[in-house]
């Protein structure tokens, strides 16, 4: 699939790296020059470039600095260490997956209710939509505090925030998917005197599968965002969110970028896994390979 595109894709990637390096030099140059002047040190352009790419706390770290940091914190440290990104990723991932599971279940159940019961559509749909107009950053601390007050701490409150974000695309897509069968197909089921339940299993649910998977890809990515956001108000204990917060407390930009890129990789990996399951399921459902 990639064979004809490998070249162009590499060129684009390379261009991005070059851009990043150029950006790093320009962003970090003023502080570097400041430092030279305070130390009364003579400097050349070559040395300036070299130094801007090797600062301890750069405004924009260079790619290789982030790479080295990621290597150190992912591969060179025991994964049980509090400094290991693998450890923090797992903390975030576990609440992401829990939240994603509950959110998907909730989303599907809501959609099934909305499609089958007119009252539910009128009464629930406005709430479903308005729930997403509240900024998650505003509501996340509330959830943590409220659940903490009744003794629920750790994994569950973060998963609840993930759930809160990720049920939405699932509900919206599944409502559309469960309504996607054509009139002629519904008529067909009627001529067989099929029950609502049979029509659901044999027609509505299979019709909704492509819609479901499209929404799951969105849901799992924002579920990760939810977990990270959920880790911010907990006082930087553990997780990728905690690493981001700790990094910004101490101006550790390299640490922030490492956590950021790791989060991005984890999200990409999750989306790829969902995509892989999607292909497996759709091939079994006879979709042209």
């Amino acid at each position: 699939m990639m064979s004809g595109q490998t070249g162009p894709v590499c060129v684009v990637l390379l261009a991005l790296f070059v851009l990043w390096y150029v950006g790093a030099v320009f962003m970090n140059a003023p502080t570097q020059i400041d430092r030279y002047e305070r130390a009364d040190q003579a400097w050349t352009t070559g040395q300036l470039i070299e130094d801007t790419l090797a600062q301890d706390r750069p405004i924009l770290p260079a790619p290789h600095q982030v790479a080295v940091e990621m290597y150190k914190t992912i591969f060179a440290i025991k994964i049980t260490s509090k400094r290991s990104l693998v450890y923090h990723s797992w903390v975030t991932l576990s609440s992401t997956l829990l939240g994603f599971g509950i959110g998907t279940l909730l989303g599907v159940l809501l959609a099934v209710g909305i499609v089958h019961v007119m009252t539910l559509e009128k009464s629930l749909m406005p709430w479903v939509i308005s729930s997403q107009t509240i900024p998650i950053l505003a509501i996340a601390p509330m959830i943590i505090v409220v659940l903490g007050a009744i003794g629920i701490k750790g994994l569950v409150p973060k998963a609840v925030i993930s759930t809160y974000l990720c049920f939405f695309p699932v509900t919206i897509s599944m409502v559309k998917g469960l309504r996607s069968p054509q009139v002629i197909q519904l008529d067909l089921m009627r001529t067989y005197n099929a029950s609502k339940w049979q029509t659901f299993w044999q027609l509505r649910l299979p019709s909704a599968m492509p819609y479901l998977f499209a929404s799951l890809k969105v849901a799992i990515a924002i579920s990760l965002v939810g977990a990270i956001v959920g880790e911010l108000p907990t006082g930087a204990q553990a997780g990728l969110g905690a690493r981001l917060l700790a990094g910004s407390y101490y101006g550790q930009t390299i640490q922030i970028w490492s956590a950021l890129l790791t989060a991005a990789f984890v999200a990409a990996l999750l989306v790829v896994i969902v995509g892989w399951i999607e292909r497996r399921v759709l091939v079994r459902m006879g979709v042209k390979a």
């Binding site: 054509q182 067909l188 001529t191 005197n193 044999q202 027609l203």
Partner: protein, 275 residues
């Protein structure tokens, strides 16, 4: 015999021998934003056991609506209709008919065999029974060997045959077909018409068949119902006497042409009313 006499004759026929479908004074009016639409107006018709009845007429004449009323996919607003002596709803609940739509309406995620077994699954038959019946039905439409294919791997004509097999699989005595071959080309259509006729001769099912092709109607039917639009009504009912084992060759005979002529006259008369 004038048109009027024919219509009267049909109306006066007693709900006789074995009326599979008995319709008296049936009307259906759709209430729309632009006012009422008279889809069917005072329709009288009897379909007897073993009949092959074609409904022909221009679009908007209510032929599909009439078939849908028989199938309980629409409800009549006035008049009487019974299927095997019971209401259309009761007949549908008894799975008294197989319905073939204009499009194959196969479920794309099911193999051909599993499409054919769909009604059997809904009727909760055992798996062995389902497979056995699917085999028989697929043989009737000459699709054996394609059980494991998915719908997209078949041509349009084969897909429609699969949908006919699906309607045959639960062995209802009444087959309702709504322009099943309308979207197919002439040659495929001729072939499927021949197959359908053979099937009818062999199984002795009662068939109600909607079409807008005069040759198709005359070739297939034992009874042709000519309809006209605005309001949708029956303007002529023509009985034909071709042998059950007829071939496409009869289309060249004078009898065939005579009946085709009468159908055409009927359609023209229906049209002149509003134009």
């Amino acid at each position: 015999m004038t048109l009027k006499e024919v219509v009267n004759n049909v109306a006066e026929m007693p709900a006789s021998k074995n009326a599979v479908v008995d319709i008296k004074n049936l009307s259906l009016t759709f209430q729309t934003a632009d006012g009422p639409v008279y889809a069917l107006s005072e329709v009288d018709l009897t379909i007897e056991e073993g009949d092959f009845v074609s409904f022909i007429g221009p679009s908007g004449c209510g032929k599909t609506t009439l078939l849908r009323v028989i199938a309980d996919l629409e409800r009549a607003t006035d008049g009487h209709i019974s299927i095997n002596g019971v209401s259309p709803e009761a007949a549908r609940e008894q799975r008294a008919y197989g319905y073939v739509f204009q499009a194959p309406a196969l479920l794309p995620w099911r193999s051909i065999e599993r499409n054919v077994t769909l009604p059997l699954e809904i009727m909760e038959l055992s798996k062995e029974e389902r497979v056995k019946r699917a085999q028989e039905a697929l043989k009737l439409v000459e699709l054996n060997g394609f059980e494991k294919k998915f719908p997209w791997q078949l041509s349009g004509g084969m897909q429609q045959r699969a949908s006919i097999a699906r309607a045959l699989s639960f062995d209802a005595d009444l087959l309702l077909m709504d322009e099943p071959f309308g979207a197919l080309d002439e040659i495929v259509r001729d072939h499927l018409n021949e197959q359908l006729l053979k099937l009818w001769a062999r199984t002795n099912k009662t068939v109600a068949f909607v079409t807008h092709s005069i040759p198709e109607a005359v070739y297939l039917s034992s009874k042709i119902v000519v309809m006209s639009p605005r309001p949708g009504r029956i303007i002529d009912v023509i009985e034909t006497n071709f042998p059950k084992d007829r071939t496409l060759d009869i289309r060249e005979t004078p009898e065939f042409l005579e009946i085709a002529h009468r159908v055409r006259e009927g359609l023209r008369a229906g049209h002149s009313n509003d134009e």
